[in-house]
Amino acid sequence: MKRLYPYLTGGITEDWTDYLLAYQEAGADAIEIGLPFSDPMLDGTTIQQASDRALRRGTTVDAILADLAAVRDRISVPLFAMTYANLVFRDGPEVFCRRLAEAGVSGLIVPDVPVDEADGLSAAAEAAGVDLVLLAAPVTPPERLAEIAARSRGFVYAVSVLGTTGERDELAGTAAPLAARIKAVTDLPVLIGFGISRPEHATAAARAGDGVVVASALMRRVLDGATPGELLDDVAALRAAVDQADQEVPADHAHAEVSGDRG
């Protein structure tokens, strides 16, 4: 089964956890929760705006984790926190990971902590029972890719494109080859993220890997005022698109199709 991991910026609205429930209801396999940071280096305009809005609302990591704890018993899918190094190292990675675990968050993605800087965090995450997900990029060289895959937990995040998060007209031609390279060196699921903006991108990406992460396309809707109910429909459409990849062709063919975008 191909996976769908939709993203939500924590604390974006007062009742932000309603979106989580809607995502779950629409068929999310797991949910990524952004812990907003003032300087989200790897994020494009949409996630920057979402982070800004959440912070201007007065959101904090504590508040988000408290909100999560409150809905914890209604959420059955795994939750991954996505945030930046400064928040993780603020009180030390041990404290941070323990608090995640206590709030029911089982994974962590920190885009500005590459594998070389991950030692302390890896250990802390492991000790707290949190999966530290590492990211791989199209420019990652083979040996390094192997190391990332080996040290990643939960899944490997394939950054589809040389660029920030944000919607794009086409799925990057770099997505499928990267997914293939990662799959060649690991048995962990490989999720493709960055720029999955339309159901057809989701289908194509899910074909190439084991599933997709969708962030900006959903957050733009939330920023525009769409309700949890409306988001449920969006996620459901993505779910259908991802599922389509399951019903089709071998990976080889899918690969060729996706990389066709390159020309």
Binding site: F37, S38, P40, V61, R90, D112, P114, L135, P138, G163
Partner: protein
């Protein structure tokens, strides 16, 4: 680690507890390639020759070391000014940029990306891009663009594209984020020409190496070796370059921060823009906006080497307010006929305040780096003084 070791190529990109390479995976190979290229270049006599040639025939180096005769007499000290205001484009930023552009060319890059605050680094980058026949893309906060219109026009005249950054405080911090995002998207063709001794490894080291010419020249020029070496600190490149010439002497090293951007004095350790250092941040770990009249010091972080030198006690960091800096700029102008940048005026202000006190006893010999000239700040000052 001893102080001297701390000035050597950092192992794993660390200065003590600070530094590192906290960047997205997309940038790791580029940073690594840059480190390799820099190590090779730095070991290559031809590279040094070309750099030396550019510095002298193009950038106006060596810059003068000027005795500040009137101020020295007034203050009861011996004050020498290292005149980076005389360097081409008007500040020390050109030292770094010429080095990086040479390196970028060596690496086959065709484009320079840079962040800028005061615009001095942007102008320097646009200049080097013009000289090397490269494209330049300069990210600049909208608020800084308004404060430094002259420099925006200069960059455009030099053929650079200036991209207004509207996120966050719309200053240097946000321009840096946006430049790094721009680099992520163009990492194969573009070199990120970072403007201070900050950012992910190898930048803090590499930038300091390109700036150490300030301190080395000054040391060779000074008739009397200084007791105290002073420089203003934004990201910390002019200070790092100055200190590098004196770290193995008994001279006290004093870095002067803007009171509203004093990462050493008011910050705590944290990670932003790819490196770990002292940072202005709130209880939650959100980065604070700095507030300084001088766009070049309006930055919440500081280069990791400074955090390290501070932790070791090898360098001291002090702060100066906007008002003190403005007054110091005027006093230097009237006393010595030199209109320095508002950034540099912070270093002057500390000397004015400290001279004759136990902080800077009468009779001291002081070397102060004037990091840039003040033309860019005239509009700001006119606003303040009118």
């Amino acid at each position: 680690m001893t102080v001297l070791e701390s000035m050597a190529p950092p192992t794993g990109g660390r200065f003590g507890d600070f530094g590192g390479r906290y960047v997205p995976e997309s940038l790791v190979p580029a940073c690594a390639a840059l480190e390799t290229a820099f190590r090779e270049a730095w070991a290559d006599a031809t590279f040094h020759e070309r750099l030396a040639e550019l510095r002298s025939v193009y950038a106006g180096r060596p810059t003068a070391l000027t005795p500040a005769t009137t101020l020295s007499a007034d203050l009861g000290i011996t004050l020498m000014l290292k005149r980076e205001d005389l360097a081409h484009t008007g500040s020390h930023k050109i030292n770094n940029v010429l080095g990086q552009a040479l390196l970028a060319q060596r690496m086959g890059k065709t484009r320079l990306i840079a962040e800028t605050g005061a615009g001095q680094h942007g102008v320097a980058t646009a200049t080097a891009a013009a000289l090397f026949g490269m494209r330049a893309t300069i990210y600049m906060g909208e608020r800084d663009m308004a404060r430094q219109r002259l420099n925006v026009f200069r960059m455009e005249l030099l053929g650079a594209e200036v991209i207004p950054v509207t996120a966050g405080s719309r200053t240097l911090k946000d321009a840096t984020n946006e430049a790094m995002r721009g680099w992520v998207a163009a990492v194969e063709e573009a070199h990120f020409c970072l403007g201070s001794a900050a950012g992910p490894h190898p930048y803090p080291w590499l930038v300091r190496q390109f700036q150490r010419v300030i301190g080395e020249e000054a040391r060779a020029q000074a008739a009397v070796q200084p007791d105290v070496v002073v420089a203003c600190v934004g990201g910390g490149s002019n200070a790092a370059g100055t200190f590098a010439g004196f770290v193995d002497t008994r001279a006290r090293l004093v870095g002067v921060e803007a009171a509203g951007g004093a990462a050493m004095t008011h910050g705590r350790p944290g990670i932003v823009h790819g490196y770990r250092s002292m940072l202005l941040q709130d209880e939650q770990g959100q980065i604070l906006e700095a507030e300084s009249i001088s766009a070049g010091l309006d930055y919440p972080g500081i280069g990791p080497e400074h955090a390290h030198l501070g932790a070791l006690g090898r360098a001291e960091y002090v702060t100066v307010t906007d008002d003190e800096a403005v007054a110091a700029l005027g006093r230097l102008a009237r006393a010595e006929g030199i209109i320095c940048a508002l950034e540099s005026a912070h270093a002057v202000a500390w000397v004015l305040r400290a001279a004759g006190t136990p902080e800077l006893p009468a009779g001291s010999t002081v070397l102060l780096t004037l990091s840039g000239r003040g033309d860019k700040d005239m509009a700001t000052l006119a606003g303040v003084t009118e």
